[in-house]
Amino acid sequence: MSTTTTSDSRSREKAPAGERVADWADGRLGIYSLAKANMRKIFPDHWSFMLGEVCLYSFIIIILTGVYLTLFFHPSMNEVQYNGSYVPLQGQLMSEAFNSTMHISFDVRGGLLIRQIHHWAALVFLAGMFVHMMRVFFTGAFRKPREVNWVFGFLLFVLGMFTGFTGYSLPDDLLSGTGVRFMEGAILSVPIVGTYLSFFLFGGEFPGGDFVARFYSVHILLLPGIMLGLVVGHLILVFYHKHTQFAGPGKTNNNVVGMPLLPVYMAKAGGFFFLVFGVVAAISAVAQINPIWAIGPYRPDQVSTGAQPDWYMGFSEGLIRVMPGWEVNLWGHTLVLGVFIPLVIFPLVLVAIAVYPFLESWVTGDKREHHILDRPRNVPTRTAFGAAWISWYFVLLVGGGNDIWATHFHLSINSITWFVRIAFFIVPVLVFIATKRICLGLQRRDRDKVLHGRESGIIKRLPHGEFIEVHEPLSQDGLHTLTAHEQYMPAEIGPMVDENGVERKVPGTQRLRAKFSKGFYGEGNQIPKPTVEEYKEITSGHGHH
């Protein structure tokens, strides 16, 4: 017993300093067990897997710069006179919020840079989340066991939108004030409680003297706090589930192929943080964003044309712009449908994409884990749905910027509005049909490639004069990659009448599910992938050409 302790203590004395620190920490935090599982954790390499990192890093950049901005920003709506160094506003009355933002922009060295990094990073954050979400969607990475993480990600996107909106409103400038005014109008349109909600939010009548301070705590504390929690949960789940991968030689549903966290991903992911920060900083050096000095302080009786929210709120702006002005007056009350319907559709647009994974898993009834990603073409209905959703979203974005499109393409604003009103219903359908056909076409091409080989571009003349193009057979890697996907069969509900001629009771949900399933995987909705038999028949026989 005594010998072991002495040898232990001796080895500890000899151990390098770093190890001793690690030992100390392990004795208290158990870091060795934690590191055992994670230090050489494998991450697959693909550029689209880094989109989430873009979001994570821009989120960190936003927090860092945001903390800096709070050191100088005064979230108060007290009226003050501007005496800073920007001449065209000197002597103007403005809120302290606007005044301190002017101070940050013109009188704090580097303040303008940090403000611009904060705002650009926010735009990139939201754009990154959008694209990341679409990557996950189109490759089917949301399937079991990752549904919860899909919901986390979706919540992050929605909360990001509102954090962005509250932040955009803080400087109390003429542009964002107009946005807040719109928000007040939207809240007023809520039946029964709208007026009360509005008075509670603004501490009385619009604009009152409270909303900047209230938005401030929501913007810097409440929403980012929730988001930080979700981000941590999102990352823990990514580690826990291990990353998905595309099909390919050696890659199966039971393994993950790539590079270890230490050292390669530590360097790549760590380096990527600096790359993202560097790019955002450089953009903030060369491109101006939200020049509040040119916009001026908010006054409820002033406005500028081109009043838009930041891009991520643009689709709601589109909804509100193209909605006809319906208003119902009954029994002394007003139902403001022209505002309230867009207010209801706004979350529905987002929820439409959020619930799709659950719809799909219900239709397939598949309870297995999926770690191999789909190529979008191999799941035509999902891909078509996603494309249709994106087109829907972008139609609304166009609607939200209708005045800018009108002036820059010399169009009539009324025609654009009418175009968006019709396109809102038509375009997603057309895009759905077109995307599905493109997917099926690509599936056919893959099938041909597997069965007949790759078109080599070499034209050969046969002895009897016929010209043919030489097809090169695919390598086994290629054959495997193109046939690795699985294809569902449409669910059958069986005959509605049993052998005795009695009507069988099939629940409506089951019938609906069968219908969906046929639409997803039935005939004409996917191209059967080549079978081994087909392949052998063609390659062994005279099928060569």
Partner: protein, 269 residues
Amino acid sequence: MKKLSARRRHPLAAVVVLLLALAATGGLYAVFAPASKAQADETAQSLAIDEGQKLYAVGCASCHGTGGQGTSDGPSLVGVGAAAVDFQVGTGRMPAQQPGAQIPKKKVIYSQAEIDQLAAYIASLGAGPSIPTKSQVSPEGADIAKGGELFRTNCAQCHNFTGKGGALTHGKFAPSLEGVDPKHIYEAMQTGPQNMPSFPDTTLSSKNKQDIIAYLDAVNGDDTENPGGLELGGLGPVSEGLFGWIFGLGTLVAVAVWVAARTAKAKKS
């Protein structure tokens, strides 16, 4: 003749015919159009009015009527004043090329002397605002901040925060104020050209107008500083969003492709 008909199928024949036709039209136009050489204008006001009337008869009367009383193609010019003429003709809006939602500014085809003659003639039809003096339109000594406030109250709703322009109904638009002669800005406020409402001195004083001009000079002039960098059209979130997507996310995706790409293998190099 035979030679000519033999060559009529030459590939360049169409071009030659087109050029001849253009030359003929141009020649005719040169004959009928107002002489572009300014007449020496050392004479009295009445002479200017006479000259203006001649110019008017050729260039304007077909739409505005022989006496400026207006027709179905153009409004009456009685009482619009010299300022309106100086603005409309001086920015090339008049004579109009074609009817449309709005008559845009284009190349000015009259000399300033001719414009003054036209203005004198129109002013003689009925009293109206006159052309502002140099000191009235000079940004010197004006209150820029007051101008900003006035601009945001009276102008920004159509012309954007700093005068970048904006959309109106059915294809009409409020033009950009970038590079517009202060004199023309003043005249536009005073006379309300086309669909723009007027802001007469009774409601927007001459000093107010000068403040607005000074403000525009400060925020939308040639030397206006955009402290943060590229102005992105000064259009606000739409262009910022596009820039963020294309250059922000676009660059980052390009970087991600580099980070995740396989390093070149020895065999290939």
